[in-house]
Amino acid sequence: MNRLWRDRRARYGAVVLAAMAFLALAAPLVAPGDPTAQPDVAGTRFVPPLTSDRHGVFHPLGTDRFGRDVWARLAYGARVSLTVSGLAVLVSVAVGAAIGAASGYTAGALSTALLGVTDFALALPRAVLLLLLASLWPPSAALVVVVLGVTGWMPIARLVHGEVRTLSTRPFVEGAVALGARPTRVLWRHILPNALTPIVIAAAFGVGNAITLEAGLSFLGLGVQPPAASWGNMIASGRDTLVNAPWVATAPGIAIALVVVACTLLGDALQDLIAPKGTALHR
């Protein structure tokens, strides 16, 4: 942990993610006012950032075309975007770990079939699947979680498969088997805990990816539905007012970029920690 903290990238990533999580949790405290309130549409629409509207209310990031405070929407949108992508990654980790462990620990037809399914799913263009799944059912946050989860498990399955294969030849696993431990116990107590670090790293990269895709779906109108705020549908609604109010679409985009960079850097730092670049261990 200490070694991780000494890495500048890890520090930046952890600080940004913690700040965003705080923003999401403490949204009512840091952004007073309702993110969907439209008290005086004509009077408070398109207030530029860092100015007050005619009622004397200060808007740090300005207001959108319905007079809603962009900062409040950003904070409440963080709740939606972070929760949805976090849950989506949990779904893909669960599915990927299950399939990877099953294909890695068994041999023969089952293993081959599971690997084949994984490779097949990897070759599909994810956007096509996302589009099909997301637009065929009525859009909702839960659907986004499921759709991102079931289209994102393949890299995790590949990774877990490899880890399980390597670990199951290690002496301590052979020892557990010799002692008569059942396969599920060997997998659960001896193999998977040792494969945890690469899974955590893949999950860190996955969260960044999921946030971008969630925003993409909401941007196409297939994700979280207005008036609830998510970073993606904020960009989508800001798209129509790019000329007179560019700040509406700019703020959520910067928020997404910050979070994704934080996830990438944290993942990079973790990866270097277990197998630094330029050493024999790497790859």
Binding site: F120, R126, A127, L132, L136, L220, G253, A257, V260, G278
Partner: protein, 322 residues
């Protein structure tokens, strides 16, 4: 080598057939069908039944799938239910736009990305390396459609230099020769820049990593110890680092196509991605089926190409033992 490519080709066909089957199943599992979209909420059950009969949707799913397959195999992709135009013509108009966009951005982002990554690896740890690392990680993190919107705002509204949507100006049909080419290039500039910029970040990061990996190998130390000039060593390293980069190229095609779907939506670029988005919304079964088939074929063909390229740069892959 040939046997290897043959195996890959068979796998490619399996993937395309799988995509087609999966798409068909999803379309038919989901609530709503093209007839409901065409006739609207006021349609009576009798009208709906008549509409379904006219489109052949009252047959069993298996019969519909078989008739679509046999039609597609003969080159008959059916008629779009929402526009009434032959799907073949719809896609024949759309796929060159997508192939142009993806192909050019692939070329540009790999050329720039490999150059950047190599430059970074050569000056490892310097402030240039750090600055470029920050730039590339940020580029890789920015959502494509958002980058597109920002570029539109800057170039179309602030600087008034480039058009923000479509593939040709309103007067394109009146132009000829160079003027028309220039018009197309101006319309291509923003979507291409968006898609390329997103790609450059990840390619540069990957190239830098691959080169640092190779640099730690004994043969590089040996070359240095022998007194080889720095550029010679760099050539050895780059040549070896290129194989994983080319394999990444094949693997990144699905992601690139995904990016193109969003970028096409932002710039109203008349490609397969936009056709697909519109068709899925209208439950236009024949168009969705055909567009997914075409996109799967583009991706699979790209993968095969990357495989052949990797074999060409790396003799170890070509040898029968591997």
């Amino acid at each position: 080598m040939l046997a290897r490519l043959g195996r890959r080709a068979i796998a490619a066909v399996v993937v395309v057939v799988g995509v087609v089957t999966l798409t068909f199943a999803l379309l038919h599992l989901a609530p709503g069908d093209p007839v409901e979209h065409l006739l609207g909420p006021a349609a009576t059950p009798a009208q709906l039944a008549a509409g379904r009969h006219a489109l052949g949707l009252d047959r069993s799913a298996a019969a519909q799938f078989l008739s679509w397959l046999s039609g597609a195999a003969r080159g008959d992709w059916g008629v779009s239910t929402s526009t009434g135009r032959p799907v073949r013509r719809l896609l024949a108009e759309a796929w060159p736009a997508t192939a142009l966009l993806i192909g050019l951005s692939l070329l540009l982002s790999y050329a720039c990305g490999v150059a950047l990554g190599a430059a970074q690896a050569a000056r490892r740890g310097s402030s240039t390396d750090t600055a470029l690392s920050i730039a590339t990680v940020t580029l890789a993190a920015i959502p494509g459609y958002w980058l597109g919107l920002m570029l539109v705002t800057l170039s179309a509204y602030v600087f008034h230099v480039l058009p923000s949507f479509g593939a040709a100006g309103l007067d394109a049909d009146l132009l000829s020769g160079w003027a028309r080419l220039l018009d197309s290039a101006r319309h291509l500039a923003l979507p291409l820049a968006t898609l390329t910029l997103i790609g450059v970040g990840s390619v540069a990061r990957f190239t830098r990593g691959a080169m640092l990996d190779i640099e730690a190998r004994p043969f590089v130390t040996a070359a240095r110890a022998k007194g080889a000039a720095p550029w010679r060593v760099l050539r050895h390293v780059l040549r070896n680092a290129l194989t994983p980069v080319i394999i990444l190229l094949g693997l990144s095609l699905p992601a690139l196509f995904s990016g193109a779907v969003f970028v096409e939506a932002v710039f109203a670029w008349p490609g397969v991605g936009r056709v697909l988005v519109e068709a899925v919304r209208a439950r236009d079964y024949p168009v969705v089926m055909a567009a997914t088939t075409v996109s799967a074929m583009l991706v699979v063909a790209g993968n095969l190409l990357a495989d052949a390229l990797a074999a060409w740069t790396d003799p170890r892959i070509r040898s029968p033992g591997a």
